[in-house]
Symmetry: D2
């Protein structure tokens, strides 16, 4: 029972990221762990560049509380990755991001990830309300289903 | 709403794994991606050592089709990790493993992961029935709920 | 006694490579180990794209016998890297590559690496003469200083 | 011309470190970059545990200015590493460490690294004299030849 794959239209914005020789493991394809390096990087780039959150130097930081990835197809060096980003859910203190990893030039999503941040005070580590700048930016890339 | 954490009793077997300086990211704790390096390593060590599957040199290989991790607490260099392993579900061609990451000497599970392999023929990449040696080994560490 | 830094003119060809969130360690800059991921990737990209050596699927493979890096300045996420490549020495079976890592838009070399491959038969692991296609490509980017 | 390999007697203290599935690259052995993860970790463990330098939370930090590794033999998952450490040279502000990586149970050094730290004020990033506690600890593991 192959699962349905997200298409590019499920994502709002894209980053192109280069792969590395040692992304590939002994089976010759990108190791499953490495997919999450692209996911983490994509979310943090968007926070800095589009949400006025210049991580890591911010008074409010995102704690990762849950991640998941469904692997549909191989990726791997030397082909670059196009990483699509959207927001799936905006809570009081948390945001769940969707990140889809596509091989450059290929429309079939190879890895479909969810990534949930709880935003906390960098000092006290207690959850805070999502700052207005972040909430507004998140709403712009919200794709709920 | 803090989620309930698995205890050590939720896992059947344990591996002690050392941490590395660069497991920790700029926030001073283990990066969320690195948790999965321990998960991947724990499953593969068990396949080699306890399931008569000397990966990667096997005619049947495990393709990772889904992983997920819930992050309950920080881990990080220099404290070693104790990784607990169990099997959550045995299908026809697939096994879902549970891996719990504990800071050495700490009973609270810091990271609770699921990791699903579909076993495929190394040549054709088509799913095969789980080999008998693997099925028997998996049944020994099955903890379904 | 600050050491002299190589300039961009010391290198023959360049690749732009993106950085990742977890390239940075707890001190907020690229971890010293990660510089070598860019070095390794740069040499292997050139082998595939410019030297008619489609690694890793080649009958002759490069064994890394020595690497070194002098660190002049910080690099780090989110700024991309421009990696300069040249050949420093061509032996009978070995090539020493020079790789200089530059922060995008910055002319000061941040990391200056040497990387020596011995070319061996993929089966026997014994050194072989450098294949003609590789020797010719290496001569084109030779910068002995 | 095979190079002479350091023996275990060239090192003063040892750490056992576990390997990870994705330490191995497509050629089935530990990627050359990963050797340096063990080197970096070994030096930092010693600073914390034996030199009264609880990195990273120290007013004086070690900036890495040069590293080098000679690769004599393969290492790789699943075999643990025994990392030997010594000090090769103590300067006014800098220390050059020697780190030898041995496959567990194998007396032949597989990777022979040098790693040079300049100690700087964590705020100003200017070199400082090596603190007394560190100098005394370094002298205890000095092996100059």
């Amino acid at each position: 029972m192959p699962r349905p794959r997200a298409s590019r239209s499920a994502y709002a914005v894209f980053e192109t990221l280069t792969t590395r020789w040692n992304d590939n493991d002994v089976y010759g394809h990108m190791n499953n762990v490495v997919y999450y390096e692209y996911v983490d990087t994509t979310v943090n780039l968007w926070l800095r560049n589009s949400a006025d959150m210049p991580v890591p130097a911010t008074p409010i930081v995102g704690l990762v509380v849950e991640t998941t990835c469904t692997y549909h197809a191989s990726l791997g060096w030397p082909t670059p990755i196009e990483a699509g980003l959207c927001v799936k859910r905006i809570g009081k203190s948390s945001i769940t991001y969707g990140v889809g990893l596509f091989e450059s030039g290929n429309d079939a999503c190879a890895g479909e990830a969810l990534f949930t941040h709880v935003y906390v005070d960098a000092e006290t580590r207690r959850p805070v309300e999502i700052p207005e700048n972040l909430r507004l930016a998140a709403q712009k890339i919200l794709k709920e289903n």
